[in-house]
């Protein structure tokens, strides 16, 4: 009982360590956090105080948001003003409203003012209806969520009562049952779990499917009876609401004055699901919109695509053209009025006041009138049309079966709706390696322990990858021939290539000089170590473990480290709370079990280790080892050891409790899981992990419980993680560290103080590490350190200080970790394989053919990365590799300079990247057959402002670039640099949290919905199940989206210009008076109805090249990269074409009807018809694929337009003119002649001179299906 407070402290520090553990992983949220911090500093009060909601009228927490959520933007009243306000943020809408309102000015009005409003109202209402519908759906889901039930403690009734979610308030006590969804952010105060844990599934928040453990607040830990809300009298001080899921700090101030620190691990977040816990009670801290889940919910992203930016420039030019036309006509009108002088003709109408307008005033009025008349030039429906087309494109991309992954039953997700065409213009692809190019399914492949290398057979790995529910262990033990084996090799043995077939590998392992011994043998070694260790105390009273044969001790430590040094959570479907009920508590206990007859419990080496089990209940003893008699086992052991070298001995395996096989490990990183699975394959299995205890099961021995003192979590700066445990048998405080080899090697104890072999060991291990890396394996170093009690106490004190600090806790904890992780003793290293995904080399090859520059940015070490790069054909053995490794800024500068001189004779440091105008061929010439490999440190120098230009110059002339050991920040810096300096379209693809910043920076962010949670997907614009789908997404959908939209936009400009020009020409014949021969209805609705719809269909369905061709000929993609479908000159060409066509459409009827009795609309209607026909035929020529619906659609639209014009559009003049026209043969003659004449230049252009596309098309048979 006396060590009770001590234990409490230890627990707290453990929790602190765990809280820290995941904090640094959320790379993407750092910024938000900083922002949050900055904001909160400005406010007078930085914390939130939560008092218990007593149920009285004055809720002390009433000024905090309640739990009712409202994600709708509008209310019934505010909808109209608010929606209009939002829509008027788009400049075009304001412009159109301005024009419509201009119509109400009497001297200016050109159309019926009400009619002029129609298009604007139409456009605005379409958008408004869309918004309304979306808002309504949000409202419905809000209502549904608000009316979910939960149990809230009622002080009046002294029990928990059912309430709606929306009635929950901050300070309420909530009782949670298994599988219930949390209604708010709740501080966990009590749990039915004996370990005071609550398991959570956080998939809805971060997509990670592994269960998370949350802990009851410390002071409520030891509550024996059920938690009574009435007795709770603390005041909770915590942070203001923020959106960082991995951060929560605060304390409970008890009435007694004692403070209790609160951590992230005490907080249950809204939206998570309670699992494996019968009941839990907590107090609401954040509710409703202040919950972290809601604060993280920022709707879809809005990006503006390159094409749209280009288009906006041309919209601006349209305005200029419009103003020029108006100005010209206005001056003309002024002159026309002037020529009559004082004698006004009969047809001149005086102003309403009867006064004559002076030429200047008339011109000014006319200018305004013409802005209205010519408004069609600015395509009002273009913006709406683009949005509709993009939604359709997203729909089709989403529907594509080729982008569907059957294994995961997931398809491509488009998260950004408005950058589909950017997919067709991408020039640089930045890819993560792990999980993006590779499967991110880690397979333990090799390890080296104490300088001896063991290889892990591939046969086993297959089984390991997907542990069958029945458990691979049993299978291993029953069929040892095919089971995991470890090949013991001498140093000289050449490692067999990973690329070899499975059979080769097997043969190699058999043929190797040293005999393979199966995994049971290793476990035997482990047992042997233990036995020896145990025998020690018997033979000599003081026997430190280090006196054991060092190899064996190392092997044991190595596997212990693999098993213990991680944050893997153990779970099994049937047994939710997996833990060791009766672990081996002491050496005495162990000895009793293992050698009941021969060993006596004479040792008293452990006294305090018993606390590890002080809390565990005595329910059942399922974990008890039911092994055959220990004696016989030991005898067998020795026998087998003697037989070492001969054929693999039979091994029956110990019978074990059935649920062991169903253990599943849920790790935050797949590497960890691979290590734990690998350790289990060698019978050193992790069976339970609690916040303060790790239980390991060993064959013959049963379960050993390590007291877990601290977990110093992984972070990307330290690149390692450590656990501090108390060894159950020796009672030593041991630090196990695993991490990247580069950092671990630096922390290894200098050889003079260690064993004399140490130096050699390091060298050997390094040697193996290099070999592993050359094989493309991911390497990790395992090290340990034994702390003396004094050392530990000294460190612990400062660590506790760090943990309890409120300000700068992260930094202090970081320093504390650094203090601990020194002078390590190297145990060994592991090599984990991460297999390439299917189709990656092919995809990369075809993307490269498509003119895409592919850069791989990875956190892996250089050798590994280079190897994977070769495997995925990113680097070619034939090309030269530039490797940039520099230790200093100067060295880096020099290196870049030399490289540039050596390889780039025409090197100019500030040369601008050949802009998109250059042809694909010339662009290809600037890229050399070089591969650039740069490591993180050098990258840091190269990204310095003084060197970045030089670095880019070198990098962009290389065919492929590989950045290794790069941090998330570096990744995003590289992307930003390339995007901004080279002015290119960038695409970033990644799967993990470390790619989030890169994905956000790039023009197009693609997330792989793979193994590492959903953070990348949440940040991305498109989420793919596999890397290889990128090929079709870019080459086919990107190309189509781009070419469809580009053509549609150009066509919109063209058709509007052409239509308006008709009216413009007419001004020469009507005294520049702003009158139009085209009826006002036609003028206004032409854009909206007659010509927009076929255009939409084309924009959605047209295919310039078939999907098969696009994939077979990736070169076609370059047209999009170089913006070949939409270039500034094309806009002007289209404008010129439009003016030419309008001249034809105007003057052919002009001469045909010259000097006749034709009236305004009888003459104007044919012109409208001709223009429409010309436009549609033009569209027909431009359309590469005539879906049958097009043809029918043209006719439908034309006929509707013809039929409806006399009856519905004409309260005004042109009544019956169409009908008269249809009886007039002249009309038909015009209809035939004019489009042909107008489109003659287009026909000629499409004539025998083959288009570049046609050349490509020739060799591929096209599906002609009509």
């Amino acid at each position: 009982m006396e060590d009770e407070p001590n234990r409490g402290e230890v627990l707290e520090t453990t929790r602190g360590a765990m809280a820290r553990d995941t904090e640094d992983r959320a790379a993407g949220t750092h910024k938000a956090e900083r922002r949050q911090r900055g904001r909160s500093k400005k406010k007078p009060k930085e914390t939130r105080t939560v008092r218990v909601h007593t149920g009285h009228e004055h809720n002390p927490n009433r000024h905090y948001a309640n739990n009712r959520i409202k994600t709708t933007k509008y209310t019934v009243l505010s909808f109209l003003p608010k929606n209009l306000f939002e829509q008027f943020h788009r400049f075009a809408n304001v412009y159109f409203v301005f024009i419509a309102l201009l119509n109400f000015v009497p001297v200016v009005n050109a159309f019926q003012p009400e009619l002029a409003l129609a298009p604007v109202v139409f456009i605005l209402s379409v958008t408004a209806i869309k918004d309304l519908w979306e808002d309504y759906r949000r409202h419905r889901s809000d209502t549904e969520i608000n009316h979910m039930d939960c149990l809230v403690y009622s002080r009046a009734e002294r029990r928990y009562v059912e309430r709606f979610w929306k009635e929950v308030q901050v300070g309420d006590f909530i009782r949670l049952r298994c599988n219930e969804i949390l209604p708010a952010d709740v501080l966990l105060l009590s749990s039915s779990d004996p370990d005071r844990l609550c398991h959570l599934e956080t998939a809805t928040l971060d997509g990670e499917t592994n269960l998370k453990q949350r802990q009851v607040v410390r002071s409520f830990f030891d509550l024996d009876c059920e938690f009574d809300p009435l007795k709770f009298n603390g005041i909770i001080e915590c942070e203001k609401p923020n959106n960082d899921l991995n951060r929560f700090r605060g304390y409970i101030l008890h009435r007694s004055g004692s403070r209790d620190a609160l951590y992230k691990d005490n907080l249950l977040l809204r939206g998570c699901t309670v699992r494996n816990t019968e009941e839990a009670v907590g107090i609401v801290i954040y509710a409703g919109h202040e919950t972290k889940a809601m604060l993280n919910n920022n709707g879809p992203r809005y990006k503006r695509s390159k094409l749209e930016r280009q288009m906006n420039v041309h919209v601006f030019w349209c305005v200029v053209i419009l103003l020029l036309m108006c100005l010209f006509a206005a001056i003309g009108h002024g002159l026309w009025v002037f020529q009559y002088g004082d004698k006004r003709p009969v047809f001149d109408v005086l102003s309403p006041e009867g006064a004559e307008l002076s030429p200047v005033v008339a011109a000014v009025y006319l200018f305004l009138t013409l802005i209205i008349v010519f408004q069609v030039l600015i395509p009002i429906s273009l913006f709406v049309s683009i949005e509709i087309v993009k939604v359709c494109q997203v729909f089709f991309i989403h529907q594509d079966q080729d982008l569907y992954d059957e294994d995961s039953d997931s398809r491509l997700q488009c998260r950004a709706l408005n950058i589909t065409e950017d997919l067709g213009q991408t020039q640089y692809v930045f890819s993560d390696k792990t999980g993006t190019l590779t499967e991110n399914k880690m397979v333990f492949r090799r390890c080296t322990v104490a300088g001896v290398e063991y290889s892990h057979d591939e046969v086993d790995s297959e089984e390991e990858e997907v542990p069958p529910p029945g458990g691979s262990l049993r299978r291993d033990s029953s069929s040892s021939q095919q089971s995991s084996r470890v090949v013991l090799r001498s140093l000289s043995t050449k490692t067999h290539r990973r690329t070899g077939s499975r059979a080769d590998a097997k043969r190699a392992s058999i043929l190797s000089k040293h005999t393979a011994f199966s995994s049971p043998m290793v476990s035997m070694v482990l047992v042997l170590v233990l036995v020896l260790c145990l025998l020690c105390p018997v033979s000599s009273v003081q026997c430190p473990v280090s006196s054991l044969p060092s190899d064996l001790a190392d092997i044991m430590d190595f596997f212990m480290a693999l098993t213990v040094c991680n944050t893997v959570v153990v779970s099994s479907p049937n047994q939710p709370r997996q833990k060791s009920k009766s672990p081996v508590k002491t050496i005495e206990d162990f000895i009793k079990r293992f050698t009941p007859s021969r060993l006596t419990s004479g040792s008293s080496s452990s006294s305090s280790s018993s606390l590890a089990t002080s809390r565990s209940s005595n329910r059942g003893c399922s974990g008890l080892l039911s092994s055959p008699s220990a004696e016989s086992t030991l005898a067998k052991l020795q026998e087998e050891q003697a037989a070492l070298g001969s054929a693999p001995p039979r091994y029956d395996g110990t019978p074990r409790s059935p649920e062991d096989g169903e253990l599943r490990y849920e790790a935050e990183s797949p590497d960890e899981a691979a290590l734990v699975y690998a350790a289990r394959a060698y019978k050193c299995s992790l069976v339970g992990r609690l916040p303060d205890q790790v239980t390991v099961e060993l064959p013959h021995l049963g379960k050993l419980s390590f007291e877990l003192l601290h977990t110093l979590g992984f972070d990307s700066t330290r690149k390692r993680m450590s656990v501090v445990v108390r060894h159950p048998l020796t009672d030593q405080i041991t630090v196990y560290t695993k991490g990247a080899d580069s950092v671990i090697m630096d922390l290894i104890k200098p050889p003079d103080t260690g064993r004399k072999l140490s130096h050699e060991l390091v060298l050997r291990t390094q040697n193996y590490l290099n070999l592993y890396a050359a094989d493309g394996l991911r390497t990790l170093c395992i090290a340990k350190k034994v702390l003396s009690k004094e050392q530990y106490a000294c460190w612990l004190q400062r660590h506790l200080e760090a943990e309890t600090a409120i300000q700068g806790r992260e930094e202090l904890l970081f320093d504390s970790a650094l203090r601990l992780e020194t002078n390590l003793q190297l145990l060994g290293a592991t090599g984990i394989e991460d297999r390439l995904q299917d189709g990656v080399p092919e995809t990369i090859a075809s993307l490269r053919q498509a003119g895409l520059q592919i850069w791989v940015l990875t956190g892996d070490k250089q050798e590994t990365a280079v190897n994977v790069a070769y495997a995925c054909k990113l680097l070619d053995p034939e090309e030269e590799i530039l490797t940039l490794n520099a230790d200093s800024h100067e060295a880096c500068a020099l290196l870049l300079e030399e490289t540039a001189k050596a390889f780039l004779p025409n090197f100019a440091p500030f040369e601008v990247y050949p802009p998109s105008s250059s042809s694909p061929h010339s662009a290809a010439f600037t890229v050399h057959r070089l591969g650039l490999v740069i490591d993180g440190r050098t990258l840091a120098y190269a990204l310095d402002q003084s060197l970045e230009d030089r670095f880019l110059a070198v990098a962009r002339s290389c065919r492929s670039v590989l950045c290794c050991r790069s941090t998330p920040l570096q990744k995003s810096t590289v992307v930003k640099l390339v995007r901004n300096k080279l002015k290119v379209m960038t695409l970033a693809i990644g799967d993990g949290a470390n790619d989030v910043s890169m994905i956000q920076v790039a023009d197009v962010g693609v997330g792989i919905s793979g193994q590492e949670g959903m953070q990348a997907v949440m940040a991305s614009d498109f989420a793919l199940p596999r890397f290889r789908y990128l090929q079709k997404l870019l080459l086919v959908h990107g190309h189509w989206s781009y070419s469809r939209l580009a053509n549609m936009i150009l066509f919109f400009f063209y058709k509007n210009a052409m239509f308006v020009a008709l009216v413009f020409w007419y001004q020469f014949y009507c005294g520049f008076s702003g009158s139009a021969m085209i009826d006002q209805w036609y003028l206004i609705f032409f854009n909206l109805m007659f010509s927009a719809f076929p255009q939409l269909v084309t924009g959605t369905l047209d295919k310039d090249v078939s999907a098969e061709t696009l994939q077979q000929l990736p070169q076609l993609y370059m047209s999009g990269q170089n913006s070949e479908e939409y270039k500034p000159y094309m806009f002007w060409m289209n404008m010129i074409d439009a003016f030419y066509q309008s001249l034809v459409c105007f003057f052919i009827p002009y001469f045909a009807y010259a000097d006749s009795d034709v009236d305004v609309f009888t003459w104007g209607t044919p012109i409208t018809t001709l223009a429409l026909l010309t436009i549609l035929v033009h569209l027909g020529i431009e359309t590469r694929t005539w879906v049958r619906t097009h043809v029918s659609l043209f006719f439908t639209v034309s006929l509707c337009y013809n039929a409806s014009c006399p009856s519905c559009f004409s309260p005004s003049n042109p009544y019956w003119s169409m009908q008269r026209l249809l009886q007039d043969p002249l009309f038909y003659l015009l209809c035939v002649l004019t489009p042909v004449a107008a489109l003659l230049p287009r026909y000629v252009q499409l004539g025998p001179v083959p288009l570049p596309l046609d050349l490509w098309l020739c060799p591929v048979p096209l599906p002609l299906d009509l």
Partner: protein, 350 residues
């Protein structure tokens, strides 16, 4: 058909793979496999296409040109701009009720039916503010608009006190020259009957323009004034035929249909009765013109036109020529293309 087949197939596939909830539908539409026709604009199609179009156009052009040439048209300016013209005396705006005479000779029979037009030049009936200066409701016989004409008629809506009916600039500026055609038969002038019925659009006469339902018509116009430039009120436009008065007067209807271009002609009468049903015989004719409409102030011209029509309307050589030109261009293009194509194609094959 292809699409339906695709759908049916889809249903069966869904049944098989129900467990894969996220699998996209395999329809021709969603997979963008709709049956489509991709026209390959190869030389083999384009060149013959151009030749065919060109030849067809040349054929149409020849037919149109011949038709047009067969149409007889006779135009005579009577503005009185030249001092030697009989109408010169009337061109002075001060002159009231001036009548002048225009003599002409037809050498061979002018085939009927002959259409008699008057024409104006440099007259902008398509001027924007002129065009809107009318009240459609008033013209369709709405008595309320008699009392208060629409604003669009301004400044020709009232004379200051009383409303103007018909209001607006178009009505106000109605052409009011009248013509009588005489044929010299055996030394005496015989009046050629002119048919003024049915010269306006049927829909204008029967649907769009209505007189108010008041008899006699004069009473409807009680309390209104005639347009400023009109000599007589609207209900007395045609003294000879009481049914040709008010808003459905044929000349009024023709005038109200605004001309598209500043040089225009409007149908005045048809010559299709009695002896003249087959046209105007050869001989001497004289046209008596009541010259009322001043045009010289805005450099306008007035003319009369006699013309007969064919199936393609009045005489217009342009369309035939245009067809010929475009047709020839197509043929020419195809020849050029063939040459270019040959140069492109054959070296490759070598």
């Amino acid at each position: 058909m292809g699409k339906e087949g695709g759908c049916g197939q889809n249903k069966t596939m869904v049944k098989q793979e129900q467990e894969l909830a996220n699998r996209p539908d395999n329809t021709a539409f969603t997979q963008q496999r709709l049956p489509a026709w991709q026209p390959m604009l190869s030389a083999g199609i384009v060149i013959p296409g151009f030749v065919i179009i060109g030849l067809a156009f040349i054929g149409i052009g020849v037919a149109l040109f011949i038709t047009s040439k067969n149409i007889q048209v006779m135009e005579m300016d009577y503005t009185g701009f030249e001092p030697d013209s009989d109408c010169f005396k009337c061109s002075n705006p001060e002159e009231k009720n001036c009548v002048c005479q225009l003599d002409f000779n037809i050498s061979s029979r002018f085939e009927g039916p002959v259409f008699f037009y008057y024409g104006l030049s440099n007259y902008f009936q398509n001027y924007r503010r002129y065009g809107v200066s009318k009240d459609d409701a008033q013209l369709s016989g709405d008595l309320d608009n008699f009392k208060s004409p629409s604003d669009t008629c301004s400044p020709y809506d009232t004379d200051g006190i009383k409303p103007i009916v018909p209001c607006g600039s178009i009505a106000n500026s109605m052409f009011n020259d009248t013509f009588l055609l005489y044929r010299e038969v055996n030394g005496t002038n015989e009046l050629v009957p002119l048919d003024g019925k049915g010269i306006a659009w049927w829909t204008d006469y029967n649907v769009k323009y209505r007189n108010p339902n008041v008899t006699p018509l004069k009473e409807a116009f009680e309390g209104t004034v005639k347009p400023l430039f009109w000599p007589r009120p609207a209900y007395e436009l045609d003294t000879s035929d009481p049914n040709n008065n008010g808003f459905i007067n044929q000349d009024f209807l023709v005038w109200m249909r605004r001309a598209a271009l500043p040089d225009f002609r409007k149908l005045y009468r048809r010559i299709a009765q009695g002896d003249y049903a087959r046209g105007l015989p050869a001989g001497n004719y004289s046209l008596k013109i009541a010259y009322n409409y001043p045009v010289l102030s805005f450099q306008g011209r007035k003319k009369v036109v006699f013309s007969n029509v064919s199936w393609m309307g009045g005489r217009n050589d342009f369309l035939g020529i245009a067809y010929l030109v475009i047709g020839s261009m197509c043929v020419f293009m195809s020849i050029v293309m063939l040459i270019v194509y040959a140069k492109f194609k054959f070296p490759e094959e070598d």
